[in-house]
């Protein structure tokens, strides 16, 4: 995958300008990358409410954790049988505590790992130019829109971003 960036990016002071520009870009079939100082539901809405597959990762590994949580005590109890006080050797009720804890622990660990891996994959799939990465106000008070496009479309998207009051617009010629 080539990470050389070709496209246009701009900065915005206002959230409503940003969301309007996103909507216009999406009407033209472009899926931009948006930078913001904090998560905003208005941006998600403008982007068409994208979803993360992360819950499935958590569910899957939570289920694995649950299986381990029940089977480990059951196996160890059967490995060296110690019948005490007439209690069952494989006792489901007390093992439920371990099952619960292992479910939560595995779900949490793999949610964190899954989150990291998903973000790395997305960063590779949707690269942003070095200058945008180094623009310091996205972590402060500015919004940004990055459009990946061919050289023939530079002018079109530059004009579009300016139409929605972009403060600064930059063209990155691959």
């Amino acid at each position: 995958m080539s990470t050389k960036f070709s496209g246009v990016w701009g900065t915005f002071e206002y959230l409503d300008d940003t969301t309007e520009a996103i909507e216009e870009l999406r009407k033209k079939g472009v899926e931009p990358t948006v930078l913001s100082p904090c998560p905003r539901h208005e941006i998600d809405h403008a982007l068409g409410e994208p979803q993360s597959p992360l819950p499935f990762i958590s569910l899957f590994f939570g289920a694995i954790g649950c299986t381990i949580g029940y089977s480990l005590p059951a196996w160890t109890a059967s490995d060296w049988v110690l019948p005490v006080g007439g209690k069952p050797v494989v006792a489901i009720t007390p093992f439920t505590v371990i099952g619960f804890e292992m479910t939560i622990l595995h779900a949490a660990i793999f949610t964190l790992l899954g989150l990291t891996i998903l973000i790395i994959i997305e960063s590779l799939k949707n690269p942003i130019p070095k200058a945008a990465r180094e623009y310091l106000r996205f972590q402060r008070d500015r919004f940004g829109i990055v459009v990946r496009c061919e050289a023939s479309q530079y002018q079109l998207y530059e004009d579009l971003l300016k139409k929605y009051q972009a403060e600064e617009v930059y063209v990155e010629k691959g």
């Binding site: 948006v34 060296w80 949610t111 989150l115 945008a132 310091l136």
Partner: protein, 492 residues
């Protein structure tokens, strides 16, 4: 949405008189003025807190370090000489160390409650305090985790608590509540740390870029490591927010399960005073109660020192006080229920223990020679006074708005909750079924030193946190704030 404005009285302790402030219902959250600030101002305010500290900060840290040093020396003596150097002996096998363990686990509950449970229930007032409360959780659980290891007497063999394959087919007993506890506490600690670190990532990116903006290149490089290439793209936010929600969902049952499982360490035993089904909810309510009291004990001075009235507003303190009041009532109800059930059960052993707690003459402690003081009795009455009677003034809004009063009440609650833990741990073991098996317990100086050291450990870590990391979640404050809009207010 209607464009009306609402009037809300906001009392500002930094002014001599309460004033009426107009808060537009569209702009930020009522009662938290910081949510009407611009994104840039929020960054600046938070960065100001991380500036070079006042010399008094170093004095404070020195005080905490002295307590920690005392604890470290006591710990060294305890480990070197052995558990015989403590007051723990037959029949009181659980003394100060298990009391400290249960107390600190309880303190650790507020952070996850505020960061996870109140996140899911969309309580906006949590925004300004959850990061500090979460840090407290991590530090309190780390502190708590030391005690069971120490209590084993040979902490270097602590790995025996973990089920690992060995040539003797020797596995841990998964039917024992003590094994449950190992799993519960380690899971809680791991999830709390991960949740805490996850929330920090976007804020570290803010610190990285702000440090660069201000020409502090070395700081920027250090923050960049922890920011993990965070840029704030929509792709990052969508996974991050989903992950955060999942973590909140996973941490929520943990809040209730951890202290339930800790309570089963006692309730699964047949000792009178312990063997009761009320223990799980009773412990959980007590944990939330003590945890929130500790949050207030720490954050009220923080608010005053850093002048954070706009962030940790009276509105926020009011809300926390309301939860403290509610849990105080649950705890008071649980105390009453314990006595009622002891009487109603008809069991002479249960009745005896609950008679001994308020009226019994257990171990005596003579300060003056002639007038012995019963330590368990003292623990019982302190518990009732601090946990049930002292919070009653919080019913009045005027008291909840008085920072000094809230701080004193919360301090008393911290004291009361420690004695509640001692009351549970100590008194039942002192008087079990058979008078022949009765005994006394006195903590040694080493145990007292380690207990003081645990407070030193907790507060040292918290003081360092306050100056090294953003004590409030900058990203969430911005999320709660009014976004910059060219065409006026945004729709919530």
């Amino acid at each position: 949405m209607a464009s009306t404005t609402i009037l809300e009285t906001v009392e500002d302790s930094s002014r001599s008189l309460p004033f009426r402030e107009e808060i537009d219902e569209h702009r930020g959250h009522p009662g938290i003025r910081a949510t009407t600030f611009s994104y840039g101002q929020i960054n600046d305010d938070m960065l100001e807190m991380l500036e070079k500290p006042h010399p008094s900060y170093f004095l404070l840290v020195l005080g905490f370090l002295s307590a920690l040093l005392l604890g470290a020396v006591s710990l060294a003596i305890q480990v070197d000489v052995g558990i015989g150097n403590s007051g723990i002996s037959h029949p009181i096998a659980w003394g100060f160390y298990i009391t400290d363990f249960v107390f600190w686990i309880g303190i650790g509950h507020a952070g996850t409650l505020i960061s996870a449970v109140f996140y899911l229930t969309r309580a906006p007032w949590r925004t300004a305090i959850y990061r500090s409360a979460e840090a407290m959780t991590v530090f309190a659980v780390l502190t708590a985790g030391l005690f069971p290891l120490l209590h084993t007497g040979r902490p270097w063999l602590a790995y025996w608590l973990i089920p690992y394959p060995n040539e003797r087919y020797l596995w841990v007993n998964f039917k024992s509540p003590l094994a449950w506890d190992v799993f519960a506490v380690t899971t809680y600690m791991s999830v709390s740390i991960m949740f805490f670190l996850l929330g920090l990532v976007p804020d570290m990116a803010i610190l990285r870029d702000e440090a660069k903006r201000r020409g502090k290149i070395l700081q920027a490089k250090i923050y960049a490591i922890f920011a993990m290439s965070w840029r704030g793209t929509n792709h990052q936010w969508i996974h991050f927010m989903r992950g955060y929600l999942i973590f909140a969902g996973l941490a929520t049952p943990l809040v209730f399960s951890v202290h339930s499982i800790v309570s089963w360490d006692f309730a699964m035993a047949s000792i009178p005073g312990w063997h009761t089904t009320i223990f799980a909810p009773y412990f959980v309510a007590g944990a939330i109660f003590s945890g929130l009291a500790m949050v207030m004990t720490v954050l009220i001075p923080v608010r005053v020192v850093f002048r954070l009235e706009d962030y940790i507003s009276n509105h926020v303190i009011n809300k926390v006080c309301q939860v403290i009041l509610f849990t105080s009532m649950i705890v008071g109800y649980a105390y009453a229920t314990e006595f009622f059930i002891a009487w109603y059960s008809g069991s002479p052993y249960e009745r005896a223990v609950f008679y001994f707690r308020p009226f019994g003459h257990m171990a005596t402690w003579s300060l003056t020679g002639d007038q012995p003081v019963s330590f368990p009795l003292l623990a019982f009455y302190l518990m009732i006074f601090c946990n049930v009677i002292a919070p009653i003034p919080l019913w009045r809004k005027k008291v909840r708005n008085n920072l000094v009063a809230v701080w004193i009440i919360c301090g008393l609650i911290n004291v009361g909750m420690w004695f509640e833990r001692f009351n549970i741990v100590g008194s039942s073991l002192q008087r079990d079924f058979h008078p022949y098996n009765w005994g006394e317990y006195w903590p040694t100086l080493v145990e007292v030193g380690i207990t003081i050291g645990s407070f030193g450990f907790f507060f040292t870590l918290f003081a360092l946190f306050m100056k090294a990391l953003p004590p409030m979640a900058i990203m969430e404050l911005k999320e709660a704030a009014e976004p910059p809009m060219r065409k006026g207010h945004h729709e919530h």
